[in-house]
Symmetry: C2
Subunit: 426 residues, 2 copies
């Protein structure tokens, strides 16, 4: 069997454990004698189009091992470049780059859009008679991949760590709000997740016994602002304070929205954020107790702060990277490595693979039965589902001179073999 | 010598280590045989006015020991109630409550406004011939207490932990921004600190060797937005990405500001935040590279997330609480326990006391000589000053069922002895 080269790339927004999947892919490749060179595309598919490839065999193994503890996608870069049917030259270019560098295996770490892209690349290679194995590795803090019944994937790597971020910070915000409620009676926090409420819902993990004055505004509930003001008033009369977690899509005016390369609304760039709209509505409305509403937007911190990473999530992300390689080497093609749950207690999972086409462009919402009748809470079934994902441990953080020691890769590009190319959407 | 009772209270915004000072006060009191009961006022001076006192001797010692790791002021509550000269009935009431409960020692943990209040209470007691010892314990993440020469206090407890929060998260945001720069080229973060730039400046601790594309917009520099847009453009041309930390007071329109009980602007409640103004100005202006600006407002998270607390800061906060008690018992009155630096390397401090009047209503800004000529960076002398405060360790976090285990106090009030009272500003 002729030894082939591997290309790995990331796409879309990062997570605290996306590099763990990258590490899994790399280490599994390094262990296999049928794999020759291992390249990473710099900034995802843009790196493929621009032929910016990094030789991962030249990286010190100690740095590869540090990827697990290195959050976000700074190590090899990601992008939000969308490949659509009309971008024929881009698809042609990808195959040209693959052929020029004898890429036999393409591993793509990403969400639903990325799985769509990966599948299109695989089909084009097939059409051209080019021998290429394509495997996806799931990633998204949003947990919005697959189906509500969780037959495609139980949860996406990254979600557990983002959920742990929210479980942690809501505990801290509760101490803050308890202490300052006579002047700052309402604390508003904006959570990511676009139209899917899994991240907002994770705040409940901070308080599974419902002792905090915590209200969740899930996109799936679509509670109008007037009802939010009522809910907050009622809580203030009861306990003198309130913590409000709103999804980033709450109350946002379409005219205030900017979009990213995928055509999705980029809520972090909104002209008026959900937090700002809610804080202003609350302060204008006034309160039955003394005080003001103040707002927080953790933004990218929820998808990139390693101290809040879930150890379980990190390990699963790593295994999903390894599994994608193992499946590919055993002849699987055009599929995504996936994780399915066997039991909640004790928490147990199995790793399988599912066709990319099943995942591509799927969107999963919080199941209706996990939303409490009030619309501003989740049920115990959601807690049973999400609780194991945050784990029971603190992650180990390597420090150097008091600072976090992240992986340091050598970003030297492999020699280019093709003429320059300008991607369709540049 | 007749045994007297102690009252301890907190005031103003919290810090990740304010409870460490509380623990220091309590443990020093518990060890002294001349002290009878130890009360904590519930929600600071409001608790004194309302005669809401908590018996701290009834708390399990294990819970008292957990205060060190419990962030913010949820344990006994704080407030932003301002006592001014015209509130004569309030001052009279405070002395009445003190007399009714035989308070011989009053320990007030707070910032400049609180030290002013503490001194006024001491003087009124003196005028009335009531035997009262008043001691302040410094606290504020803003580090804006005392004089620029640091003869009154070297740094305030809470600042080291807030600085560590910023050092940590800027490292994480750098990984995020590096990875996502082809679509989210500018990451804007809003830091607390009102008109004092110490917190914004602490971001530099993430990158002491200046390898990140990091720009700091300090209140002391007052860089106009046009210049910010230029600076960002230049960085984008150079490195394709930029991290912008703006002080919360940056670009805020006075018409958009709400004020707290002390009359200070409550930036967390602003109708338009500094982050929003800067993100909108950037996105409207456009960039010399592809991408958008997105924004983050850590808000209260920078003053209350225990995982980022500085171990050194926590220990110092604890000692300052203990010292206030020791000084009081040795006859010092009307002073604040303070920390003065002996050397930067190795980092060494001494604990002293300074008159409350020296601290009261002092405001400290970032010294001009610590601001780099560009106006958007700090000098190495600032790094030398601030670096020891964040320490070299991760704080230990006690977990219980995967969640942070904070102190659980029994909030039972001591029996009231006076008629009800409505505070002047209610």
């Amino acid at each position: 069997m002729k030894k082939r080269n591997v290309l790995v790339a990331q796409s879309g927004g990062p997570s605290p454990v996306i590099n763990a999947s990258l590490q899994g892919v790399l280490e599994a490749c390094f262990e296999d004698k049928n794999i020759n060179n291992v390249y990473a595309a710099y900034h995802g598919i843009e790196g493929v189009l621009l032929e910016n490839l990094i030789d991962m065999r030249k990286q010190p193994l100690d740095e590869i091992r540090r990827l697990k503890n290195t959050p976000a996608s700074g190590a090899i870069g990601s992008c939000r470049y969308k490949l659509t049917e009309k971008n024929t030259p881009d698809f042609e270019r990808i195959i040209e780059v693959f052929m020029a560098h004898d890429i036999g295996y393409f591993f793509y770490i990403g969400g639903n859009d990325s799985m769509d892209t990966a599948d299109k690349v695989r089909r084009l290679a097939e059409t051209k008679g080019y021998d290429l194995t394509v495997m996806g590795v799931p990633k998204t803090i949003d947990n919005d991949l697959g189906d509500e019944e969780r037959t495609i994937i139980d949860h996406t790597p990254g979600y557990g760590s983002c959920a742990r971020y929210w479980a942690n910070i809501i505990q801290n915000v509760n101490e803050e709000n308890k202490g300052m409620c006579t002047s700052e009676c309402v604390s508003v926090l904006q959570a990511m997740g676009r139209d899917s409420g899994y991240i907002t819902a994770a705040s409940r993990l901070a308080d599974p016994h419902r002792e905090m004055p915590l209200q969740l505004y899930l996109p799936e509930s679509a509670i109008p602002i007037e009802k939010l003001l009522d809910n907050v008033d009622n809580e203030l009369v009861k306990s003198g304070r309130c913590i409000v977690v709103v999804s980033e899509s709450y109350m946002t005016d379409p005219a205030s929205q900017l979009r990213d390369g995928f055509g999705h609304v980029e809520y972090g760039a909104s002209k008026t954020t959900a937090m700002q709209s809610v804080v202003n509505a609350l302060n204008q409305h006034g309160f039955p107790v003394r005080g003001q509403a103040t707002g927080q937007i953790p933004g990218v911190l929820q998808r990139g702060v390693s101290m809040h990473a879930s150890v379980i999530d990190r390990e699963e992300a790593y295994i999903l990277g390894r599994k994608a390689v193992e499946f590919a080497l055993s002849g699987v093609n055009g599929e995504m490595s996936t994780i399915l749950r066997v039991s909640d207690e004790p928490y147990a999972v199995v790793y399988k693979h599912v066709p990319l086409t099943l995942v591509a462009n799927s969107v999963r919402y919080l199941p209706r039965e996990w939303i409490a009748p009030s619309g501003i809470d989740v049920t115990d079934d959601f807690i049973k589902y999400a609780r194991p994902l945050i784990g029971d441990q603190m992650p180990e953080i390597e420090l150097e001179a008091g600072l976090q020691r992240f992986a340091r890769l050598r970003l030297e590009f492999v020699e280019k073999k093709l003429p320059e190319y300008v991607p369709c959407n540049f």
